[in-house]
Symmetry: C2
Subunit: 523 residues, 2 copies
Amino acid sequence: MNQPLVLTDLLHRAREFFPAQEIVEYGGATETHRYTNRDFHERVVSLAGALVRLGVRPGDRVATLAWNHHRHLELYFAVPLAGAVLHTVNLRLEPTEIAYVLGHAEDVVVFADLSLLPRLDVARAERPAMIVIATDGSGPGELTYEDLVAEGPPLENPPRIDENDLAALCYTSGTTGPPKGVGYSHRSLYLHTFAACLADGHAISERDTVLHVVPMFHANAWGIPFAALMTGAKQVLPGPHPVPAEIATIVEAEGVTYTGMVPTVAADLVRLVAREGADLSSLRALVLGGSPPDDELLRALQELGIPAFQGWGMTEISPMGTFSRPLPSVTDPAERRRSVRKQGRLLPGLRWRLVGEDGTDQPHDGAARGELLIRGPWVATQYFRDEHPESFADGWLRTGDIATIDADGYLEIVDRAKDLIKSGGEWISSVALEQALTANPAVAESAVVGVPHERWQERPYALVVLEPGRSDTPDDVLADLRDRVPRWWLPEGVLVVDELPRTSVGKIDKKVLRAKVAAGGAG
Amino acid sequence: MNQPLVLTDLLHRAREFFPAQEIVEYGGATETHRYTNRDFHERVVSLAGALVRLGVRPGDRVATLAWNHHRHLELYFAVPLAGAVLHTVNLRLEPTEIAYVLGHAEDVVVFADLSLLPRLDVARAERPAMIVIATDGSGPGELTYEDLVAEGPPLENPPRIDENDLAALCYTSGTTGPPKGVGYSHRSLYLHTFAACLADGHAISERDTVLHVVPMFHANAWGIPFAALMTGAKQVLPGPHPVPAEIATIVEAEGVTYTGMVPTVAADLVRLVAREGADLSSLRALVLGGSPPDDELLRALQELGIPAFQGWGMTEISPMGTFSRPLPSVTDPAERRRSVRKQGRLLPGLRWRLVGEDGTDQPHDGAARGELLIRGPWVATQYFRDEHPESFADGWLRTGDIATIDADGYLEIVDRAKDLIKSGGEWISSVALEQALTANPAVAESAVVGVPHERWQERPYALVVLEPGRSDTPDDVLADLRDRVPRWWLPEGVLVVDELPRTSVGKIDKKVLRAKVAAGGAG
């Protein structure tokens, strides 16, 4: 009964049980490729053979720098089948950051979309031995992807894989330093795949048509490609840069039943439907992740009859950690939205703790706050190359999130440990202060950072983007805030800016903001 | 990410996330006990503490001889929590067989229902050191179950469990010799639990109310108690000897959504509804297992609007091997029934082969036959104490079933390599029955075959050759047999013949015998 849990079993399962199931790729709103799991399997095995002939050995890292297309999906399975480690690189990174992660991972081969090849310039200069293969069209004189697949023969004798061997690798966008690598074993991704198909979670099934909106360079694309292949779900890939109008067209054309996306994209989609009236009624589940959805978005989705859920996770958790589905007893629409705005319940298999500043476990009463610690069979217990051991404690991942857990077991993340501002020995929540700022009708977006302060150690400082047509002054913004927050929360200053800087994954980049404030904004 | 997969995590999950969820016990059609997961957890931890104080050490076997009641459910978790191995004994075995399995497993403690204590007489005489505890009422002078729970304190420091440690043990009814033990590791049951909750399978979820009709002395009660606790489903236990009228009453009273049972019981239930009109509309899934359902039963269930599925498995597969759900594209009612009459598709995680007599893999075309071989993380690769190595080949379990697999991946078992008769979901060993027949001094030779039976699916039928000079009648033969086998093993008929037909290699040709019986012997 100690059969190893290896990903390649999922690939073979799709070939055996769902050979005629389709994989469809779009480019924009136009279908560009449609084939079956049978063809997919054949191409994956051919590509794995080509990787071995290229010199890729078990344990080697093979990178991708690519949008969501069928060749990227093939790489998801061909690289682990060859015993190698799939390293998905975030295409929004700067060329120097890309060079950093490729160097850190020591990738021997990188597959990149033609349009993204220029981003590899720095890395190629640094690592001339690295083999670069264009996934589409012809590369700059090198082998192309289709050459490799066509060259055959398929991999005859795949290397024997231990379940604890790495199958994939993904770097977190570093907010406090260089990116950190998270390695995923075959076992961890296999168990994560089962978790994605549980009836109480994402519930991926053979009856689904899954649209991969979540970038495949994000942690395992939430694990959905593995779940789809295991269950025989139909998979649809939107191609590069999907915009809401394209997503709506694809949902209609393919009868998409399940997709996941960040709330920003979902909000755009909802506005598009309101404006132009697309039919999204085939969706049985729209899972929101990356950041929590607001009530307005959830209400709009309710009005459209689209069941929405929140999934919370981290690169370090493969990434699925929780799933927010209202309790069976909760039927009131507003109460259901409140449930979904929380991060939800821990997936089976995982365990968590809420640890207060004094190191003690906090009660799960919806009020007590603590840092969230997580452990489980798909939670990292170390970073690649054993860096940053301080992020782990006795097998627990320190998430760096400050959270509450209510009596029903629903997680609510109330702050990042590092985004808390400690003023005169008291915590100020930058998240709560940002919410109070955007409650002002004049304010479109806001960000709060901590700035050093002689008397109070640290004080909040606010940056706001005004709604179009508004010309409120910093004093106006402060005046509005007076009624909304405790007096001692009032920021030391307000800076009106045109836009807020964001990281490659779309999060507000507080590192840049702090620098901006330090450089004079605060003066 | 190599967190061990241990069952006790499921117990703690229920306590943390679903403390108020109910567990209800019935005795007949009367509710006898209702409590919550919170109380359940507390009692389980107390009982585990008591086991340790009784002297139970990690790895020791602790047996149960019990019906489906809340204390049996508590033992399912308390025994593994104490690091010991739960050995569920089939209460339909004869006292000598019970003594055999208790001796073979070397159980140190046995928990038995008061009504079943007499069945332990042989075992107690053989193993006087074995501690016997009555699960209900007061035992014969010994500790009772409630004494143990009340005695406290709870287990403070549960032993550290490795995922490959055994958590449970179950014996198959021996077909060609004594019963064989199948050990289940924590890891195997944990993965089996995930499989039970997949959206495409049994799909056990928090929204379910599960009725445990499947005897808990059968292989892990199909794994449903673990799945229910992991997901927070409400659990309902029917108590001893549930009859269809009681099942119908419980389904109505508790709003049962999921249950599993053998087709015989389901057919009785359907007849009861036709006669007396119970409301079973709360059922979202009725899973039939143990033997395949016939078309009449499936049509009756369709007419009642009860979705029915077939689950196939074996004690050696924990027991879930396949699940038969019609393809999403199949909507015609008759075609759906045809799908459900097949054993269905292999669960994710498992792999299978169809091996012909010449040792080659047979095509999956719905026509080619072969012996079914299975492997996977919850498939046995050996029997307890390493007996019968011939049942395994290179990590594959030889199921002994002759089957076809069609192009959609649906298994259909067409014959059994070994001579077993399945009567109302329970195995009868034709070999053991033949031995009992020839123990009669009047009988020279005997053969037993299974004949189709309306109520029990299959029943044994005996053919005997008398010793020279004897003229015993079939009734004489049956009368002699009464003292030698359980009542329910008694053949439907006995045919006295001059000789038994044999194959070219001298084996009794049961195919010819079945034809003989069908042609009139059974009339």
